[in-house]
Amino acid sequence: MTPLQRVQEKFSQDVIETHAFRGDETLLIRPASLQTVAKFLKETAELDFNFLMDLTAVDYLFYAGGRVQKEFRFEIVYHFFSLKHNHRLRIKVPVDEKNPEVDSLTGLWASADWYEREVWDMFGIRFKGHPNLKRILMYEEFEGHALRKDYQFNKRQPLIGPKT
């Protein structure tokens, strides 16, 4: 049984859709169940996803030239890897534009800390329960979130002077 099938079996109501192609397994799950699914992935012995490889977000505004309208504007993408079993799983969570907030996974994987700060910095998505959610790449005076599709690419930011 693959990790995808395990999760699908256990959380059948929480899985919105799945995708699998030559071992590339993806699950789209409801944001409310993210914590429980993540805990299950990490703490089940046969799955043992002890490594959070990547955490990023996608902005689906103007997706496919505006032809495809998604129900939710953002998706957070988690890439999990098990060093023991050498298998991978991708989890996606849709996030609403009006209240862009999901649960933080810093309690389960410490590496989520900086990833989540980057997603906050670039997409403006908040992580509930993050210990230190502030910008990681840009400076505090930066206005807006640079990787949102409606961020004007040549917007001029205020110049910052030397710190005193």
Binding site: M138, Y139, F142, A146, Y151, F153, N154, K155, R156, Q157, L159, I160, G161, P162, K163
Partner: protein, 186 residues
């Protein structure tokens, strides 16, 4: 007024000439290297092109002991306060060279992270555009800087993007993505 009628002017003028001459052949540079232009800067500095022929072969990695600030490579908004700090810590007289198109205008980094020309932060004396500039360009810029030092000229103005003053005319216009699309279509 002729110099014969005013011996003091004659002597101060000659003294300034001598000072300028001494300064232009002993450029102590501070290389503020942040990006790929640094490679070209190094090849200019080493034996093949050899800036030491122009008396600029001794980089000092301390702003207090240098008199020309070489800004080599892209400056991000986060780096800008550091650059300003380094410039402010240099002793007078001081000059600034913008090395590479990123420092001149921001170059093709027309984005959220890059400062659109360091002359928006600190006054620039010599612009050496190019991506990266050839060592010949750099040496040409260095000679132009020497002429400026000889005359005792220093740039004091910042670039004002709204008034479009304080930057050479051919560098006024940045190159935006929209223009690039327009150019490639036509």
């Amino acid at each position: 007024m002729s110099f014969l009628s005013s011996p003091t002017n004659f002597f101060t003028a000659k003294l300034n000439d001598a000072l300028g001459w001494a300064r232009k052949y002993s450029i102590f540079q501070y290389p503020f290297v942040t990006a790929c232009c640094g490679m070209e800067y190094m090849s200019t500095a080493t034996a093949h092109y050899d800036v030491d022929r122009f008396g600029a072969g001794f980089p000092r990695f301390s702003p207090r002991q240098s008199d020309v600030l070489f800004v080599v490579g892209t400056i991000s908004h986060k780096m800008a306060p550091v650059l300003k700090d380094v410039y402010d810590k240099m002793c007078e007289p001081k000059w600034v060279v913008a090395f590479g198109v990123c420092t001149c205008t921001g170059g093709f980094y027309d984005n959220y992270a890059t400062v659109q020309g360091i002359d928006t932060i600190i006054p620039v004396d010599i612009y050496i555009p190019g991506c990266p500039p050839r060592p010949e360009n750099v040496i040409d810029g260095l000679i132009k800087l020497q002429e400026k030092i000889q005359k005792g000229e220093q740039s004091r103005t910042l670039y004002d993007p709204r008034m479009k003053i304080g930057r050479p005319e051919h560098l006024q216009k940045g190159y935006s993505v929209e223009e690039h699309i327009k150019d490639t279509k036509s």
